[in-house]
């Protein structure tokens, strides 16, 4: 964190630390809750792995790392488009549609991953590794679905403040993925 300690002008005139928080406080309550849930889940995953790292590595080999890497790029690009949507009110729909299309791509890739597993007869109760794999990626994918629903609602009833909140939700989904992907797919 080699940030230059430049004084931030916004802070001076504000009397409460909450005032400096970008966006709506309620969204941050949500973001923190989600980080706690996923953080606990990922640490539990690594904790359980201690008992049998070899089995975890074997199970991990059947994951599709390329699909995971592609999805990382898809999500961060989608996040970028959502952020652009917030900053360009007159082209909001265009940017947001792009963001939604990439969100759908993410889900399609995920779908192929899941069906490939199902064809191998792998399910949520197959092993400890796959219990976590399905719980964490599935819960994350549910958030992607929720984000798409929220974006669709915003397209229908545009409102700057809600758009800002929705984009923040979407960035949180990004954030969770960039932490989740390496820990589940790569750490071995």
């Amino acid at each position: 964190m080699n940030q230059s300690p430049a004084p931030v002008p916004a802070m001076a005139e504000q009397d409460h630390p909450l005032d400096s928080l970008p966006g709506d406080l309620m969204i941050w309550v949500l973001i923190v809750s989600e980080l706690l849930v996923f953080g606990a889940g990922l640490l539990a995953f690594l904790g359980v792995r201690i008992a049998d790292p070899v089995a975890f590595a074997q199970d991990q080999d059947s994951l599709n790392r390329v699909a995971g890497a592609v999805n990382t790029i898809v999500l961060i690009s989608s996040g970028y488009l959502a952020a652009r949507a917030v900053h360009s009110p007159n082209k909001m729909r265009l940017w947001l549609s792009g963001s939604m299309v990439l969100g759908l791509v993410f889900l399609v890739v995920k779908w192929f991953e899941y069906t490939a597993k199902a064809e191998l007869g792998i399910g949520i109760e197959t092993s400890q590794f796959f219990t976590f794999y399905y719980l964490l990626t599935g819960f994350h994918a549910m958030h992607v679905v929720a984000g798409l629903v929220i974006f669709a609602l915003i397209m229908r009833w545009p409102n700057p403040r809600n758009l800002e909140g929705a984009a923040m939700f979407w960035h949180m989904v990004d954030l969770v993925w960039v932490l989740l992907f390496p820990i589940i797919y790569l750490v071995r």
Partner: protein, 84 residues
């Protein structure tokens, strides 16, 4: 946040992600050093998302809090990995 800053953040994220992919392709079985690097890259990505996508660059106090969370989380993760 200006659009160029946003684009810069996106390009950084892209570069970091490609870095992760290259690392995985080059040395997939490398153990501790590999894992430490992968987690470091993940932390940097998360930091860019928090600072630029979520706008914490303008709120240094909160930025510190979230950075601390990330550092503690990733170090705990690394510790758990090493214990296994």
């Amino acid at each position: 946040m200006t659009q160029s800053a946003l684009t810069r953040a996106f390009l950084t994220l892209l570069a970091l992600s490609i870095g992760t992919t290259l690392l995985t392709e080059l040395r997939p079985q490398a153990g501790m050093g590999f894992v430490a690097l992968v987690l470091l890259l993940a932390g940097l990505k998360a930091r860019v998302i928090l600072m630029d996508y979520l706008g914490l660059r303008l709120a240094p106090m909160w930025q510190r809090g979230f950075n601390a969370f990330l550092v503690v989380f990733l170090l705990t993760g690394l510790g758990l990995y090493l214990a296994g």
